[in-house]
Amino acid sequence: MKLFKYFIYTALGGSLLTGCSKELDLKPTDGFTDANAFRTIADAQLAANGAYGRYGTNANTIYSTALVSDETKIGADNAGQGALTFRYQYSADGTTGGDVTAAYTGYYQMIDQVNRTLDKLPTVIATPAEEPRRNILKGQLLALRALAHFDLLQLYSKAYSANEKGIPIMLTSNIYAQPKRNTMGEVMTQIEKDMADAFALLPAVTPSTFSDTVMNQVNINAYRAKIALFKGDYQNAVTYATNVISSNVKPLASAADFPGIWTDANTTETLFRIRYSTGTTMGALWTTTGNLVYIAPSDKLIATYGTGDIRKAAYIGTYSGTTKNYVNKYFNSSKGGRVVDMKAIRIAEVYLIRAEAYAKLAVPDVNAGTNDLNEVRSKRITGYTNATFNNAGDLITAVLAERFKELCFEGTRLFDLKRNNLPVSRNASDVGSAAWQTLPAGNYRFVFPIPQYELLANPNNVQNDGY
C-alpha cells in the first residue's frame, strides 16, 4: 500500500507540480516585446535607426511619381513592372494600385515607429553623459514624423489648399485607431510645429559637425523651405533656403565632384540621405542587378540636356553597343551594382526652391531668383553664360525646366507639375499608346488613391475623388 501511495503522489501530484503554470508565460528570445524592447537610451537610438530606415519608403515615392510623370518610359526588358501605373490604369486596389498605394502604408509604419519610440524615450535609462542624447533623439524623431506626414500630403492630397482633404495626423501609437482625414491646413500646422520643435531641440550645426544621415538644423531648414514652397508661403521658403545656403555646410559640387555624388564616391551636395550598405532598394527599381531595364529615362528628359551639360552622363547611362538607356543615378557604387544611397534632399534643390520662391513672392525678385538659377546652371554646364529673364513668369518656367533636368528621379517632378497646375505631357516616342501620353492639368490621378484596404478597415477615412 505504501508503494501505491508513493506512486500516486509521484505520478499525479508530481506531474501537476512540475507542470507549473509559470511555464506558460513564454517570451521570444530572438526578438523583443513591448515589455523589454526599450531599456536604455541605446535602445532608443536603435529604434531611431529603425525610423530612419523606414524612410526608405521614399524610394517608392520616387519610383511611383516618376512612373506617372514624364521622367520615364517603359524599359526594354519590362515584363509588366510599373506598366499599369505608367498607363494611368492604377486604382485603390492592391492588385493594380500597388505602386501608388504602398507609400501610404510605408509612411504610416514609419510614423508608428517614431511614435512608439517617442512614447518610450522619456523613460529609458541614460547616464548623465548620455542625457543630452534624449533631446537630440526627440528632435530627430519629430522631424522624421513631420517629413513622413509631408510626403503623405504630397502624394494623397491635391495641390495645397488649407480646407482640402489632407491625411490623418498620427501622433500616438494605437493599433485599433480609425482616424479620420484632417484638412491639409491642420496637417500643415502639425508639420510646421513638429519641425519647429525639432529645430529647437537640436544643437547648432557647423560644416564640421554636419551629418547628412541624420536630421539636423540645416536639413530641417531645407525641408521647411520645401514645405513652405508647397504651401505657397514664399517668404518663408526664401528665408529657410537662405539659412541653409548661408550655413555653407554643403556648397554646390564642382564639375569634377558632381558625378561622384551618384556613385556614392562623395556626398558633396547631399543634405539628407538614406544609406544602403548592401540593399538594392533604390537601384533595382529601374534596372535589375542582372541588367534588365524595367524603367528607362524618357526620350523627353534625355533631349533636354544640351551639349556641355554634365548631368546627362551622370544621370543617363547607355549599354555599350546598344541604344538601351538606363537610369544612371542609382546604378553603381563601390558597394555594388544598384547599391546606391537615396538622396533625399540636396543643396541644388534648395537653390531652385529659393529661385522659384523669389519669382513667386508677392513682389517678385526676378534678379535674386535668376542668380540662384544661374548659380546652379553654371556648375552643371560647361561654358555656361548667365541667363536673364524679363519677368517672373519666364523665370518660373525656366526654374521648373531646370528642376526637371536637375532633380529627375528624385521624386519632385510630379509634385512640381501638380503644385503649378501643369499637365504631364509625354513624348509620343515615350508611350505605346496615345491613351497615356498626356495627363491633363488637375486630373484626379495627380492625387493617388487611398488604399482600398484602408477604407475597408477604417470607416472614418474617405477615398480621393475619381477612384
Binding site: M1, L3, F4, F7, I8, A11, L12, G14, S15, T18, G19, S21, E23, L24, D25, L26, K27, P28, G31, F32, T33, D34, A37, D43, L46, A47, N49, G50, Y52, G53, R54, S91, T96, Y104, T105, Y108, Q109, D112, Q113, M170, S173, I175, Y176, A177, Q178, P179, T213, R275, Y276, L292, D341, A434, P451, Y453, E454, L456, A457, N458, P459, N461
Partner: protein, 1055 residues
Amino acid sequence: MRMRKLLALVAGIVLLLGHAQAQLNRTVTGKVTDEKGNALSGVTVTIPGSDKRALTDNGGSFSISVTDKTKYLKLSYVGYNTEEVAITGKASVAVKMTAEDKSLAEVVVVGYGVQKKKEATGTVTTVKGEAIAEKPVQSFEAALAGRAAGVQITVPTGVLNTPPVFRIRGTNSISLSSYPLIVVDGVVSYTGDFSSTSAAGNALASINPNDIESMDIAKDAAATAIYGSRAANGVVFITTKKGKTGKAKVTYDGWVGFTKAYGLPDMLNAFDYTTYKNEAVANALAIRAGSVSPANTQFALTNGPDGKPINTRWFDYIYRDGFSHSHNVNVSGANDNTNYYFSVGYTDQEGIIRKNDFKRVNVLFNLESRVSKSITVGGKLSYSNEKNLAAVSSGSLAGEAYGTAGLARTGMVNAPNISPYNNDGSYNIGAQYIGPMNNVVSGNQVGFYNPVVLLDKNRSNSENNHLQSNAYLQFKPLSWLALKSVYGIDYIFVDNETFATPIHGDGQGSTGSASSTYGKYKTWVWTNTAQFDYTIADKHNVNLLVGSEQQRRTSTGFGINRQNLSDPAYTVLQAGWTLNNFTGSALGENYLLSSFARLNYNFDKKYFLSGNIRQDEYSALGVKKGTFWGVSAGWEITREKFWEKAGLDRVFSSFKIRGSYGKVGNIAGIGDYTTLSTFGSGLYGGAATLGFGSAGNPSITWETSKKTDVGVSFGLFQNKLTAEIAYYNNNIDGLVLNVPQSPSTGLGSIAQNAGKMFNKGLEITLNASPITTKDFSWNSSFNITFNKNQVTELAPGLTEILTITGSGSTGEFPNRTVVGYPVGYFYLVRTAGVDPETGRRIFLNRAGTPVMYQHIVPTGGSNWTYADGSPAPAITQANDAVMVRNSQPKQFGGWDNTFRYKNFDLNVLLTYQLDFYVYYGTNAGLHDQRYWNNTTDVLRRWKAKGDVTDMVRPIYGDNVSYGNTIPLDMNAFNGSFMKLRNISLGYTVPKSLLEKAKISSARIYVSAQNLAMITKYPGPDPEVASNGNSSTGQGTDRNTAPNARTITIGLNIGF
C-alpha cells in the same frame, strides 16, 4: 520476549499445517468440445490462484490435480470465450466452449485507452492496418481515401510525399489548420510538410504503413473532447503493431511498383504550333500594322542533328516511368508476460517527375513486459530516415503554381519546335530563358527555362530524421485500478539542401545559389493517468479515467545561403562562393499543460453514458486556460424485453441509438508568440536597428467548435448487413482571422477571434457480407457523406478573403470566402462563348451585359466593346466577377469490395467526390496566345465569319481571352469523379505446398492504383490541390503535375 517467540512458533505451525492441508490432492478429468461437439485440443486449463496448468490432448481430454480448496477451473482457448467450470464434488467435467463473438471483442481507441466498440457512444470509425498496408504510398493517410465516412482525402499532386488534403467532416477553419490531430501510440505527432525545398516532406511519412495495426478516426465531440483544445478537426489515433501470443513470427512483405503519369494534356506538335502562332501574328498585324514587335516576328522550324525538323514533346523530358520497391521484415511474438514487435522497412520510390524520389529506412520496436503481477513496463522505439529528393520545383506544391522553373508548367509552355539541346549537343540556353532557335520573337523568348538543364544540374532535397518513441510504466495495485505514466517524444530533424546552377534558371541571376538549412522540431509529452474499472451489482459498469499531461514543443532553425559561384563546375555548398547570407532562421517554443477525465457508465450493456472533460492551458494564447467537454449517451435497444416481444430481434441483431454534444477547440497554426507585440532587429545603412515587428493580440484564444452528433447503428440478419448512420452539426465560433487594421495605424493586420462557420451533414456506412460460403465470399463496405459548409460571419472590416493560387506578385485569386457561402467559393468572371461574327470572346460584366474582347485593335479603338461596337470599361475580377461555383464536394465516400474464391482474393476500392467544381487555371495557360504552346483544342479555332466554335480568333499576345489574366467561369469544370482507387488480386499459396520450405504462409498479389476514373473533368485529375492544405484555397488546378497510376506486384511470406 518469550511470549512473542512462542506466538511466532504457533503461528508458524498453523501456517505449515494449513499448507500441508492444501497439498491434499485429487485429480479432475474432463473433455472439452466446441458448440458442435467436436473435440478441442490445446485448450489451456488453469487453476485460479495457482501456477498449475494442463492442456487438452487431441481428443479434447485433460487431467489436472487439484486441492480441496479449488472450486473452479478456468479454460481458455484462442477464438473462444473463456469458461469457468465449477468442480466442487466432481471428478470429471464436460465443457462446451462457445466461439467468441468477434464484434463483442472489437475495441476502439478513445484516447488514453481503449473501449469496446459495442459500448462506445462517441463516433469513431476504425480502419484496419491491412487496408492500407502494401499500398505504394509514402504515408498512411494517402491511402485512407474512401475508407471511412466523414473522411475526405485529396491527393493533391503526383509529387511524392506531398501531404494529402485531409478533412474530417468538412473544412473546420479558415486561417488555422483544418488538418486532424494525429495521435501515434499516445503521442501527438507533427503533421504537415516539413521540407522547405521543392521536394515535399510529409511528417507522417515516418510511419511505415505496414507497421500500423489500426487507425481510429474520432469525429464527434464525445470521442474527441479528451483532446480538448486540439480536437476540433477530429482526432486520428494510430496504433502500431504489437506482438501476438504464440511463438515468434517472422514476416516479409515486399513489392515492386511501376508508376506513370496520366491525363497529360494533348499539346500541339512543332508543325501545328509553328503554323498556328504565325497565323496569330498575321491576324494581329492585319488588324494594326506594327502591333507585334519586333517587326520581323516569325515562328519557324529548326532542323535537328538528324536534318529533320525538331519536334519536342517536353513531357518526355520531364516525366518518366518510375520504378519503386519496398521491403519490410518484422519479427513479433508474445508469451504471457512479454510481447514484442520488431520491424525494419526500406522503400525506394521513383515519382513520375524525373529526379523526384522518396527513400525511407525505418525501424520500429514495440515492447511490453509484465515484470510482476501488478507492474507492466513497455515502450516504443521508432526511427525513420526519409530522403525527399527533387531537382527543381515541380510547380505543384502550395505557392509554387506560378514559378517559372515549375516543371509541370514548363512542359506546357515551352515551344515544341525547339530542342533542349543545340545540334552540337550543348544545352539550348538563351540570355535568360531557353534559346529560341529559328523563332524570331520579342525578348527571344519561346519558353521558360530549359528543364533538362535544371533536371541535370540542380538539387532541391530534404532529409528528415524522425524519432517517435515512448516508455511507460503501469501499476495495477488492484484489479480495478490501473495507474500509468507515459513519457513520449516526437523529434524531427530536417536537413534541407539545394543547389541552383549558375548557367541557367533560378540560379542564373545570382550566379549560382546553394543553401543548406537545418530545422529541429522537438516535442516531449508526459502523461499520467489513473483508470478505475468497477462493476457494481453485476450491472452497473463504471469506468473512470483521470489524468494530467504536459507537452513542450520547441523549434529551431538556421542555415546559410551562398551565392556567386566562383567556378560553375562546383556543385556543393562547401565549394567556392563569394556571398553568404544567413537563412532559415527559426526559434519557437510552446507549452501545453492539461488535465482531463473521462467517465463511462453503462447499465447492463443497455444504457450507456459517457462524459469527457479536458482543461488545457496553452502558452501561445492570450486567454490561456480553457475547458472542453463532450457528453454522450447510447441505448442498445435489442437488449430490451419489448424488442424481443415485438419479434424485432429476429430482424435486428443489434440496434443502438446514440447522441453526443460538446465543445472542443482548435489551436493548430496559432504562432507561438501571437499575443505579443514584437520588435525585431534589422540593419539600416550597416547600423543595427530596433524596429516594431508585429502587433500582438493579448486576448487571442482557441477557435471553438460546438459539435452535435446523433446516430443509429444496427445489424440485420445476424449482422450480415450492418449500418451506421450519423447526423452531425458543427458550429464553429471565434475563428481566428487576420483582421486588417487601418494602415493609418502603421500596422497590417491582427489575429482576432472573429468569424463563424458551420459544417453539417449526414454520414452513412453500410457493411454487408452478401455471400459467405466455404469457397466463395463477398464482403462489401459502402460509405457516403453529405456535407454542407457555410461561413456565417467574418470580422468588421473583413468582408472577403481572397486566397491566392501562386504567391506574391504572381498569382490569381479564384477562391473567395464571404459570408453566406461555403469557404473558398469560386469568384469568377462569366463568359458566354465566342462571337461567331468576329471570333471574339464574350465576357459578361457584373450586370450580365456581354462585353467582347479583342487583344489588338486599330489605333484609337477599344479592346473592350459592347455588342454594338461601342467601347466598354475593361472587365476586371474586382468589378465583374460573381460567386459562381462551389469548390467543396457536397458528397464523398467510397465502396470497398473484397471477394475470395478458394485461395484467390480480389479487392476493389472505388472512391468518389461529387457535386463540386475545380478551377482549372492551367487551362487558361494552355490557350495563352503568346509564344506559349497550346493544346490541340486550338486547331478548331475561329477562322471566318459564321464559325461556331469555343476557340477564339487567335491574335498574337492575347492572354486575356482564355482567362490568363482574369479568372473565368469557363475554366471551372465539374469535378465530380469516381475512381478505381485500388484493385488488387492476390493468391494465397496452399499450406501443403509450403510446409516443406518451412514457410507458414505466403501470398502473392498484383495491384493497381488509379487504374480508371469516371469524370467529365478535362484536366489530368479532378483530385488535385494546387494550394495544398489551405483551408480557403481548395479546388484549384494551376500548373500542377498530374497524379500517378501505379502497378505493383508483391509478396508476403510468414515463417
